[in-house]
């Protein structure tokens, strides 16, 4: 088997591993934290904090 054919298989394998890593981590995070925490981000926090400090 030529080097490039091996590299093709390596690319398939590494892609699958990376995809699996993301999916497993996603499932773990979603089951470990509440939806309220995960989606609590709001824009303008830095600006609001600066305003509070200067008040």
């Amino acid at each position: 088997m030529e080097t490039w054919q091996i590299l093709e298989y390596v690319a398939w394998g590494v892609s699958a591993l990376l995809g699996l890593y993301m999916v497993i981590d996603w499932m773990k995070v979603d089951s470990s934290y509440s939806e309220d925490v995960l989606t609590s981000s709001r824009e303008g926090e830095l600006e609001a904090m600066t305003e509070e400090q200067h008040r």
């Binding site: 030529e2 080097t3 490039w4 054919q5 093709e8 298989y9 690319a11 398939w12 590494v14 892609s15 990376l18 995809g19 890593y21 993301m22 999916v23 981590d25 996603w26 995070v29 934290y33 939806e35 309220d36 925490v37 995960l38 989606t39 609590s40 981000s41 709001r42 824009e43 303008g44 926090e45 830095l46 600006e47 609001a48 904090m49 600066t50 305003e51 509070e52 400090q53 008040r55």
Partner: protein, 478 residues
């Protein structure tokens, strides 16, 4: 809340509105530069040369400079608005605050489509480049490009998933190498260092403007390719340590870098490659800078520009994943899309669901759609976005005049940049219509349909008042 330290690593992005997990503020101006230039620089390595095919080498140069003016206006306007509306989503968030929800929804979609299509196009290109390397190393068989295309998307998505600092530091390194490669090629082939190989006079003679001024107009379509994506710097707004400083600095340094890179690219390539070959990006010169290096006869330059081409492609795909996911995330956070997409990873502090969701979409386009159609859809979405910008800045200045709100940067000569940008966008729409009229009409039809869907259905779910959490004064006239 008076004892909050806004530079704190543990409190970054978490504050008075009740944010428990927010995006991490860790980026500096160099990362902003790397994001903007990284997305664009692949356009110098390939793609811009279609402008030569449309109207000859001089037409490509005129298009390069006119598009340069267009994008300088974009960079100036973006720097002012984003240093004030410093939130993920970039132009989507600007539109939400300044124009209204329907414009915001459309701009958000322009952003996601432009970046996801560009990501797919870059992955296709990376697969092609790897097959070229296989051929150059003596591989006789037909290389299956699909695993490499998928690997590019999966690896960069994984990098984005794990954290923004590593993602954009990676972009900084590979973008800097790709830019330096262009400088080295220019110095080595123009006669400044060693013997020059430029043949402008001989190559241009009799071919100055092969299709006249209509060719120049047609070249404007691909003239965008020199700079398309610099506006992506705005997506880093919620992750920079100092938005007021880093965003204008990074964006304006980025457009200056690109003006230099674009002009040097045109100079070296048009001085070595005949315009008929240079202008045919399919059967002629696919990667003109690399082809110029090959004609220089220097192995060092061939390797340098080969890596430059691959790095520019990866940097662009990487920046596109970053930007598309931020736009998607911001729309989810405001419930323009399901709120589920507005989640932030508690450890990596990235919009992880948006990153994962866009992976299969990029894969479908990268594996199933033709490259030219993917690129055209990306350009058209970008062009619609640029048309929105002048209207946006005019409304921004009217609703919040200069002294009513603190800006990180105030762009000069207002409204001249806005009017210039609008005029150049109109010119470019005509140029695109000449070459891709059907796609243009189809795409506008698509955005009309999704606008109707948003107006009659989706808008009822939007966080109406709660989406505006910036501590701004009321706009004038309201």
């Amino acid at each position: 809340m008076a004892d909050i330290d806004i530079t704190s690593q543990t409190m970054d992005g978490m504050g008075p509105h009740g944010t428990k997990v927010g995006l991490l503020r860790v980026l500096g101006p160099a990362h902003v530069w790397a994001l903007g230039v990284g997305i664009v620089l692949v356009g110098e390595y390939m793609g811009w040369n279609f402008a030569v095919g449309k109207g000859g080498a001089y037409a490509a140069l005129i298009a390069c400079w006119f598009a340069g003016i267009l994008y300088t206006c974009v960079a100036m306007i973006d720097s002012e608005v984003t240093s004030t509306v410093a939130a993920a989503g970039g132009q989507y968030t600007q539109a939400k605050h300044i124009v209204g929800p329907l414009m915001a929804f459309n701009v958000g979609l322009y952003l996601v489509f432009a970046y996801t299509m560009l990501e797919a196009a870059n992955a296709i290109t990376a697969g092609y480049l790897i097959s070229v390397v296989a051929g150059m190393t003596g591989y006789a068989g037909e290389l299956d490009q699909r695993p490499f295309i998928i690997l590019v998307i999966m690896f960069l998505a994984w990098l984005n998933y794990r954290g923004v600092l590593a993602t954009l530091t990676f972009n900084l390194v590979i973008t800097a190498i790709a830019f330096l490669a262009i400088l080295v090629l220019f110095l080595s082939t123009s006669g400044i260092l060693g013997g020059g190989i430029m043949q402008h006079t001989a190559l241009f003679e009799g071919h100055e403007m092969p299709y006249g001024w209509i060719g120049v107009l047609a070249a404007m379509h691909f003239g965008l390719w020199y700079y398309l994506g610099i506006e992506g710097t705005t997506q880093a707004a919620e992750e920079v340590r100092s938005p007021a400083r880093a965003l204008p600095f990074g964006t304006l340094a980025g457009i200056m870098t690109l003006l230099i890179a674009a002009t040097l690219t045109w100079y070296v390539c048009s001085g070595v490659l005949p315009w008929e070959f240079l202008g045919d990006g399919v059967n002629g010169s696919v990667a003109p800078l690399f082809d110029t290096a090959r004609l220089s006869g220097s192995n060092g330059l061939i390797w340098l520009l080969g890596f430059g081409t691959l790095f520019a492609t990866l940097a662009s795909a990487n920046g596109c994943i970053n930007d598309a996911s931020r736009a998607w995330f911001a729309m989810g956070r405001d419930k323009y899309l399901p709120g589920w997409f507005g989640a932030v990873h508690p450890r990596y502090r990235t919009p992880y669901r948006s990153i994962i969701f866009l992976v299969p979409i990029a894969l479908i386009f990268a594996l199933g759609a033709p490259l030219d159609q993917v690129i055209t859809f990306s350009i058209l979405s970008g062009l619609l976005e640029y048309t929105f910008m002048p209207l946006n800045i005019i409304m921004f200045r009217r609703k919040w005049p200069l002294n009513s709100i603190k800006r990180g940067y105030e762009h000069p000569f207002h409204p001249l940049p806005a009017v210039t940008l609008l005029a150049l966008c109109a010119l470019t729409f005509f140029a695109v219509f000449l070459g891709y009229g059907t796609q243009l009409v189809a795409m506008i039809g698509f955005y009309i349909v999704v606008s109707l869907w948003f107006h009659f259905w989706r808008y009822r779910f939007v966080n109406r008042g709660a989406q505006f959490t910036m501590p701004w004064p009321k706009p004038q006239g309201y």
